[in-house]
């Protein structure tokens, strides 16, 4: 579903990604782990067509980036630590706006379905500015799945959430992943990554330095795997 070959991204003289290779099969949930400044967010921004690669090849669902970016974007749902929502619109109005941008025909039943999925049907007519951070993040996930994308990218979705909001987000994320979508999530929360993902990749100094499936962990855990791959 995602194929990345020898990806390089430079910002001026600084090289952030250094010939990164990455493959994700349909239905996989990949947790992308790594220290701050490793290039995780830059990598996700390239996958989501918000940044251009300096060199290398990126294909999502068979479409190349940046050449076929519009086709990629139609199959992509992105959630970051920013909500990407308008504070002066209601939840319903935000989703209706994005439904129009994604060209959804008859969006109202889908909007109702998504609001129910993220548990906000009772607050659908409230302005987003009145929402807590956790509610905004759940609505952000609703926005990202509105057009039923094949691939979901989550960039640190737990940032700024308290324990209750994180638990609620767990439920929503599991629901999103259980629908057969391909998911790539960056996170510093190793316990949550271990709970959700089927594969764990470590990105360090601009390349993938280690990768293992859930089965590959054996009796070990993600924390041990992560520390070993950084020490190596």
């Amino acid at each position: 579903m995602i194929e990345v070959r020898k990806l390089v991204k430079r910002f001026g003289l600084k090289t952030v990604l250094r010939g990164l290779d990455f493959d994700v099969q349909p239905g996989e949930f990949v947790a992308l782990l790594g220290p701050n400044g490793a290039g995780k967010t830059t990598f996700l921004r390239i996958l989501s067509s918000l940044a251009r690669p300096s060199l290398g090849e990126v294909k999502i669902a068979g479409y190349r980036l940046p050449g076929q970016a519009a086709a990629v974007r139609a199959r992509l749902g992105v959630v970051s630590h920013m909500p990407l929502l308008y504070a002066d619109l209601t939840a319903e109005e935000n989703l209706r706006f994005y439904a129009r941008l994604y060209g959804l025909q008859n969006p109202e039943p889908r909007i109702a379905e998504v609001l129910e999925m993220v548990g906000l049907e009772g607050r659908r007519k409230d302005l987003v500015r009145t929402y807590s951070r956790g509610m905004q993040q759940r609505l952000a996930i609703g926005r990202a799945v509105l057009h039923d994308p094949d691939v979901m990218l989550f960039d640190e979705p737990y940032t700024g959430l308290d324990q209750d909001a994180s638990t609620m987000l767990d439920i929503v994320l599991k629901s999103v992943a259980s629908q057969g979508r391909t998911v790539v999530m960056t996170s510093h929360d190793l316990a949550r990554a271990e709970d959700l993902a089927t594969r764990f990749d470590v990105l360090s100094h601009g390349v993938i330095t280690a990768s293992t499936s859930r089965e590959g962990l054996g009796s070990s855990n993600v924390l041990t795997f992560y520390k070993q791959s950084l020490d190596a």
Partner: protein
């Protein structure tokens, strides 16, 4: 429906969605219009006392004072319009949509233009009141429309660049004002012509130049917007 008309339809729908969203958000917050309006009113008020002119001279400076007011108030509008998109990551939300990115540009241009024209139309009677000048001239309204189109087109493109920086509020006027000088000078010439009731043949060159500049700046913005917003 064949594919070119499908593409055209989705382009138009995306532009309409962005304009409608901006109008709905502004209807709720009233932040942008009120700040532009108050600022424009203050500029007119300050000029009125600072210049302290004879009634006959006042008519001669009308075009200059009006356009300085519109440009200053417009900068507030441009900054605010893009800041709303950037602050909560909404610009990324727009860029992630599978629409031609120039639809985003034109959507933002049209909504900012609506706000700017609203401020201009409301400011005219106030100006007339302060300066005792009759400004209800169809020619002047045409120049205001053409000048504002050029100003907002260039301003939207540059504010989408400036908004990516930490110094966006300061940066926009610094990069915008030198570029809009040709638009501003043509608008001033044409406005003066209409206000002084010159023959249309004498106003036509400035008006023609203003139209040409609008077309050129729109075409250039159309071509480069995608590159400006992508990292």
């Amino acid at each position: 429906m064949n594919s070119p008309s499908l593409a055209r339809s989705s382009f138009v729908k995306a532009v309409a969605a962005i304009v409608q969203k901006d109008l709905a958000a502004e209807y709720r917050s009233r932040e942008l219009l009120s700040s532009m309006m108050v600022f424009a009113l203050l500029v007119i008020f300050i000029f009125n006392y600072a210049l302290n002119l004879e009634p006959s001279v006042r008519a001669k400076v009308t075009a200059g004072v009006l356009w300085v007011t519109f440009v200053f108030a417009g900068t507030i509008g441009l900054n605010r319009s893009m800041a709303v998109e950037k602050d909560r990551g909404c610009l990324d939300g727009l860029l992630l949509a599978p629409v031609d990115r120039t639809a985003i540009f034109f959507g933002k241009v049209i909504s900012t233009l609506i706000f700017m024209l609203l401020v201009e139309v409301i400011m005219l009677p106030f100006y007339g009141l302060f300066y005792n000048v009759n400004l209800f001239n169809p020619g002047l309204l045409l120049v205001m429309l053409l000048g504002s189109i050029g100003y907002v087109v260039v301003g939207t493109l540059l504010s989408s660049m400036a908004v990516q920086t930490r110094t966006r509020d300061i940066l926009l006027p610094i990069i915008l004002f030198p570029i809009i000088i040709p638009i501003l000078l043509s608008a001033l010439d044409a406005s003066n012509g209409f206000l002084n009731h010159l023959e249309f043949d004498l106003i036509q060159p400035a008006l023609g130049l203003l139209v040409a500049l609008d077309v050129i700046f729109t075409a250039v913005s159309f071509m480069v917007f995608d590159y400006v917003v992508e990292e």
